[in-house]
């Protein structure tokens, strides 16, 4: 399953790259892509809704100002 989320206040390109790396490492996540330019995040997982809690936590850790629109 693949889902795309909008991101608000993703201000730095390096943070986007760090977020992507961190999310990819989460258990249950098959693939992730964070686009700084499009301000979007695509998560691929068997059950996207189940991993979203971890993803949000992970993003908050890397870039606390950035908000994921669920």
């Amino acid at each position: 399953m693949k889902k795309t989320f909008k991101l608000i206040d993703l201000d730095c390109a390096n943070c986007a790259a760090k977020m992507e790396t961190a999310i990819k490492k989460l258990p249950g996540v098959t693939d992730a892509s964070v686009s700084f330019m499009a301000q979007k995040m695509t998560i691929e997982a068997d059950d996207v809704d189940a991993v979203m809690k971890d993803v949000v936590k992970c993003c908050r850790k890397v870039e606390p100002d950035c908000e994921i629109v669920l």
Binding site: T4, D9, D11, C12, A13, N14, C15, A16, A17, K18, E20, T21, S33, S35, F36, M37, A38, Q39, K40, T42, R60, K61, V62, P64, D65
Partner: protein, 635 residues
């Protein structure tokens, strides 16, 4: 500017005023010492107590830098140590400790100005790209109880009739029931010539109705309409990242820690040797400022994003940065013949009469063939031009696999292939060895000449192939299921390097696989087809390009790059845009790394101050962004 950016601008201005005030304020002399707040200064030859400057500079420093400090603390607590906030803090606090107050404030101020500038530049280019792709219709007009109501296009069901007024965007795909108009397809295809539509024609969402009122019966729900599919495709294109992007993010992961440790080494090792901490520590602080990787990380996706945006403006949809990157290295371009290099429809290319005029021969053939539905017969009628007079032809008899026999104006006319002539025992008196299909005509048992019917190359194909070669494509190859002769003729006319004829669909895949093995690993193989029946080849090639995709679902699905109309010149435009994007990416990487490296070296030997270091960080980012935004205007 957003509210956040405006707020930042105010902070910068306030801090700047306070900073200037602190710089200009004269020394205030004190009568006696105050702990922490007084320093001993020289007053007319003897030492006296003066008010210390640091509180004056600390105010603008905190005004401008509090959020950087706060973010650094917060990120360290989250286990993210080496980020730019932390590096800026260490560098500026270090400067404060060694007594360089104005530098500390100025560096923080300059850093924030750069960040703001960067922020504005990125949101500007993001905005201009989304404006390029602004083809989403806002509403659809629907007739309800005799009144026109505006509804959300998503609410319109298949089979509903929508009304499109002049100047409005077509919201959903459908068929015109009533009305005639010209449609501007520029937003979809980049083609500026309007397309005329009338009742019975299909219209595609995203076009703009230029003149008349149209009543359209909706053929597809919004989610499956052309405009929604295109938007979906373009919006998701940033998902597939280019090699260059992966490289740079990976690079950034190592770059920052390495520079930070180099800074640490620079601060400690020489100082232990010569004891001059006051020289080495400031130099090391410069290193920290330079160690931010943001300029690099930001400029590359921005360049690709701009390239994809600029391409879509011209009706070229690129499904990901990786494809744009691969297209820039195109070395072998393989074309499908029918519908790609050629028009995909038959037309009369030559009329060779024997004993009558060309017009007479064409007329006879058209009259004889008028009742046939075969594409070749239709092309003869089309070449003749008028509507044939049915009453002039009698006793029309189709001879399967051979041709037609008819009595026209009282004379028996035969029109068909060589087998028909042989069967009737009519000798062929003209040389008839032409590429394409030859239709012979005989009148009253006497040979009257022949017509040559072929699938003609598109008007722009030859030019497009020349331009591809000029753009650095090494080899052009044509694949076709047609006979050798027809293939040879097209290949010669267009100047293709190689061609393979009489191929079945599976044979095309095989050929492409052979070509993939032959090419050098540095170059990529592009396959261009019309998206019909060539999905396996499209996916097998490094880059599959489908053309003439306006309205074709299969092509949009299977291809990596989609050309919205069927003009091959779009392909050369795509290659040009890809090359330009890649050259901007390269420029940015070399420039950003070069400046950073230069400043690192100059800092190490003490020739660069913290101003240069801040320029190497944010200044370079801004320049890289400006360079990348050139892609938006690419032709």
């Amino acid at each position: 500017m957003t509210r956040k950016q405006k707020k930042m601008l105010w902070r910068i201005l306030i801090s700047f005023v306070l900073f200037t005030a602190a710089l200009l304020l004269p020394t205030i002399w004190l009568s006696g010492p105050i702990p922490l707040l007084s320093v001993i200064q020289d007053q007319g030859g003897c030492g006296a107590y003066a008010l210390a400057k640091w509180p004056l500079f600390l105010i603008p420093y905190l005004v401008i830098g509090w959020d950087v400090l706060w973010k650094a603390v917060r990120n360290i607590m989250n286990g993210q140590v080496f980020d730019e906030n932390f590096l800026m803090c260490v560098a500026t606090i270090g400067a404060l400790i060694i007594g360089e107050f104005p530098e500390a404030v100025a560096v923080m101020l300059f850093y924030q100005v750069g960040e703001l500038f960067q922020n504005v530049a990125v949101s500007r280019s993001r905005q201009s790209i989304s404006e390029l792709m602004d083809i989403r219709p806002d509403y659809a007009n629907i007739q309800r109880d005799g009144q026109l109501v505006q509804v959300d296009p998503e609410e319109v069901a298949v089979g509903d009739v929508i009304v499109i007024k002049a100047g409005e965007r077509v919201p959903l795909d459908g068929v015109v029931l009533e009305g005639a108009s010209a449609l501007d397809t520029a937003a979809l295809t980049g083609e500026s010539l309007p397309r005329d539509v009338a009742a019975g024609d299909e219209v595609i969402s995203g076009c703009v109705n230029l003149s008349g009122l149209l009543h359209v019966k909706v053929g597809k729900p919004f989610g499956q309409s052309t405009v929604a599919r295109i938007l979906d495709l373009v919006e998701n294109s940033s998902e597939k990242k280019a090699q260059a992007e992966h490289f740079i993010t990976k690079f950034a992961r190592y770059y920052t820690p390495i520079v930070v440790f180099a800074a640490l080494a620079l601060a400690v090792i020489p100082s232990l040797l010569d004891g001059q901490w006051g020289i080495w520590v400031p130099r090391a602080l410069n290193f920290l400022v330079v160690s931010c990787p943001c300029a690099l990380v930001i400029s590359i996706p921005l360049s690709f994003f701009g390239g994809i945006g600029g391409a879509s403006k011209q009706g070229i949809l690129v499904k990901g940065s990786n494809y744009l990157e691969a297209l820039a290295q195109a070395g072998v371009v393989v074309f499908d013949k029918t519908g790609t290099l050629t028009q995909g429809k038959f037309s009369v290319t030559a009329v060779h009469p024997d004993g009558m005029s060309q017009e007479e021969l064409l007329e006879l053939a058209a009259l004889a063939e008028q009742f046939s539905t075969h594409p070749i017969s239709k092309s003869i009628v089309a070449a003749w031009g008028g509507t044939p007079d049915q009453s002039r032809a009698a006793d029309v008899e189709e001879i399967a696999g051979h041709g037609v026999r008819a009595v026209i104006d009282g004379r028996t006319v035969l029109a068909g292939n060589g087998k028909l002539m042989a069967r009737e025992g009519i000798p062929l008196t003209l040389d008839h060895d032409h590429p394409g299909t030859v239709i012979h005509v005989a009148v009253e048992g006497r040979y009257a000449g022949h017509l040559v019917i072929a699938d003609q190359p598109k008007a722009t194909s030859a030019q497009a192939l020349r331009e591809l070669k000029a753009a650095g494509v090494r080899q052009t190859v044509m694949l076709t299921g047609d006979a050798q002769g027809a293939a040879q003729a097209v290949a010669n006319e267009l100047g293709l390097d190689r061609f393979y004829s009489q191929l079945l669909p599976a044979g095309k895949v095989e050929r492409v696989e052979n070509l993939l093995q032959e090419k050098s690993p540095k170059e990529t193989l592009v396959f261009v087809g019309d998206g019909i029946n060539d999905a396996p080849v499209l996916s097998r090639a490094d880059i599959g390009v489908a053309m003439g995709a306006l309205g074709s679902d299969a092509a949009i699905e299977a291809a990596d790059i989609v050309l919205m109309d069927d003009d091959l010149l779009k392909l050369t435009a795509a290659v040009r845009i890809a090359r330009k994007t890649l050259s901007i990416v390269r420029q940015n990487v070399v420039f950003a790394l070069g400046v950073k490296l230069l400043v690192l070296i100059l800092s190490a030997v003490g020739l660069a101050n913290m101003w240069a270091a801040v320029f190497a960080d944010v200044g370079v980012s801004v320049l890289a962004i400006l360079n990348a935004s050139r892609m938006l205007k690419a032709k």
